[in-house]
Symmetry: C2
Subunit: 315 residues, 2 copies
């Protein structure tokens, strides 16, 4: 889970025989061009576009924008600019029914940050509805063993939302009870999980990928929120009043207790961490993107995007 | 979780200012005696007593008896007799409001079995109700890396039952995706979890111990069953029609795919397994018994029982 791709569709996705092309929206004017100046322009646009978080509700967008801004502000001295090509920072399928934005910033070699990754994806569904996924993840490098940060919201209708919010551990917690105590018990992360659990519309969510279930922590918030009775308004209320403050709190814990890089490690352990981090990154790309990307965007775009992500992850 | 004590009360136990002594039941006639012949007698009684599984409903008892019998029959050639002292095979508190039976059989050195452990506990509650816990666990030794078996039913009223049913892994599943595939994906354990999840009275259960959450597998069945509307009869029906066949199936998978000892390991890995197994045993004893035993049985009985368990686990 360390490396979270732009749209993890392990959540029992519908199959996607996408609709015939709709009238294109804001994106038609922004089709990738080839000249250098256009590239520069698109670089800037790519960054702006991530923060657009279009198509989702205002509370959902506010949540994502605030968290992305908080991470970028707090970690700015550690972060390099995004080096993804413009056509990976933003891409769409040939029929214009699926769009996505991806922004990855690697950390300076001297920092504890491996990378931060923000993304959104919008995909029109044959039913007439749409799937929207927004994510923010932040991975540390093997100079520290502290947990990573992960947030993902998967909205398949205005009244149905899957929320994944966690600090995925970077060690086997069974073998390291001290690590469990430091990062999960002492930080009282469980309280945040319990706060959300109390909302009547909230149910535990089980990822269809057993591997994904393994990489999350014992205090992971993995929930499905269904607000059919209260409609879309109720969902917006839940995101604003409950999901937002909880996500902010969890991110704050990560920034204060993990991203500082205080929990440094020796050489032997560093090698083990590196191996584990790399394995998790590869497995999650395989699970998250390998199957859904080709279906949504076709093989050419899939290769381009996955190749660019892998380049950043392996650099 | 590898080593499961006789009554894991990490499940938000009520506090136990036990009631004044009730008229003693079947146990008064069986008070431990000191002569050698009585000891022999009690040894036999201890074994019988485990299979009594008193106080619980008939379907609950049937389930436990069948599973214990299945394990003992299938693994009999591998198992040594129980060597626990009679006053550990059966014990009760001074006020006669809490009784427990514990039966542990170690495996032959040449077998893949570390031990099997069966237990029940009955404790009268101040409210007038009773807490009944029954468990069966089976641990393998480091000659194999295959998962262990674990079943525990915690009944705090006729309409409330917590079920823990799992094959706890013995390796970090994040680092060993092949192990995850062999023992959890290929065995389709997830189907059993999903079958139970469909029953309307079934809700996911989160152990209050984060460590316990870590030691279970991604297909662990951790559920709370509440049958208030249907009463005790409905609970019996759920145990008989759903819990029983699912537990039997999971035990069958364990016996066929894990207990055979086919998944053998080399010397280096054996040392790592040994370390992990030992850590899990110690931690689970600490979590499961450390806090609740003194409250239920007082310090003297606690020391005796824990000492005897540790002796078996460390032999």
């Amino acid at each position: 889970m360390a490396a979270i791709g732009p749209h993890r569709l392990h959540s029992s996705p519908p199959s996607f025989p996408v609709r015939s092309p709709p009238p294109s929206k804001i994106y038609r004017a922004r089709t990738p061009a080839s000249s250098a100046s256009h590239h520069m322009d698109l670089q800037v646009q790519g960054r702006r576009r991530l923060k657009d978080f279009p198509y989702v509700s205002a509370p959902h967008r506010d949540l994502m924008v605030e968290l992305v801004s908080t991470v970028e502000t707090r970690l700015d001295p550690h972060l390099l600019p995004c080096t993804l090509p413009p056509d990976v920072q933003y891409y769409q399928n040939p029929t214009n029914t699926a769009h996505a934005s991806l922004h990855i910033r690697s950390g300076h070699k001297s920092s504890p940050i491996d990378f931060i990754l923000g993304s959104w994806l919008h995909c029109e569904l044959p039913s007439g509805g749409a799937l929207n996924i927004t994510s923010l993840s932040a991975n540390l490098n093997p100079s520290t063993d502290a947990p990573n940060f992960l947030l993902e919201l998967i909205q398949s209708s205005p009244t149905s939302l899957i929320l994944i919010l966690d600090l995925p551990p970077r060690k086997d917690l069974v073998l390291h009870p001290d690590y469990l105590r430091t990062f999960y018990e002492d930080t009282q992360l469980e309280r945040q999980r319990q706060l959300l659990e109390k909302i009547p519309e909230v149910r535990p969510y089980f990822s269809s990928s057993l591997y994904i279930r393994c990489v999350v922590s014992p205090t992971a918030i993995l929930v499905r929120i269904e607000s059919e009775a209260g409609g879309g308004r109720r969902m917006e209320e839940i995101v604003q009043d409950h999901v937002h403050p909880i996500a902010k709190e969890v991110l704050g814990i990560w920034l204060d207790r993990c991203a500082s890089g205080e929990s440094s490690v020796g050489e032997t352990e560093r090698a083990a961490l590196e191996k584990r981090d790399q394995l998790v990154k590869n497995k999650t790309i395989e699970i998250d993107l390998g199957s859904s990307m080709p279906r949504l965007f076709g093989p050419e775009i899939t290769d381009r995007v996955l190749g660019a992500i892998q380049e950043v992850f392996n650099s």
